[in-house]
Assembly symmetry: C2
Homo-oligomer: 91 residues x 2
Amino acid sequence: MDLKQVEKISKALGDPYRLKLMETINKQQDWLQCSIIIEMFDLSQSTVSHHLKQLLEADLLISEKDGRNCKYKVNKEVISGYKNFLTQLEG
Amino acid sequence: MDLKQVEKISKALGDPYRLKLMETINKQQDWLQCSIIIEMFDLSQSTVSHHLKQLLEADLLISEKDGRNCKYKVNKEVISGYKNFLTQLEG
DNA sequence: TTAACAAATCGATATTCATCGATATATAAA
DNA sequence: TTTATATATCGATGAATATCGATTTGTTAA
């Protein structure tokens, strides 16, 4: 993982709503529907969509189309790679 | 570590210069002098000072006065705590 | 005590980002 | 095909941030 991706991931995690999104999506056994996420947050649909996009572009989430719905889950591999970078900072 | 600190740390790491600062300071055996850091970066003294402040306020760095100089080192405990939060996101 | 130096702070400016309502796109249901 | 629903995108706006030069503060050396 290069510095550019580390920067992108850090930026994506540097927002309270996006942290909550990550926690919420991770709590699910499997995928979480976008429409359910929107109901859970006190933000407009377009703003939630914006935040999900940031997390997707940082590869922190994986999304899949499901009819006219969209579902998300956490990309654990990328989080693991990010943790490896942080481990270097402890070296 | 609460969400507010995770957010602060993430924000602090979400900048290319600050990531470089963390790497640079971590490479040192012990402390790294501020004046040396300033020489190494193509940024004004006030800007470097600003970035170091962000990292300090996120507890990612520890600083110590040394005469009229100032020296820094990485706070490995906080990085460890941050990694623990990320581990939860993998759960 | 004065001069030199290191680092922090201030004030200004340009850029980035979060947020919203409105609109567009795509899919499913009637 | 028309209508309804889910999500993405657009355009605007206000807030936060990065950056700089100038100044201030605190410390050492002359």
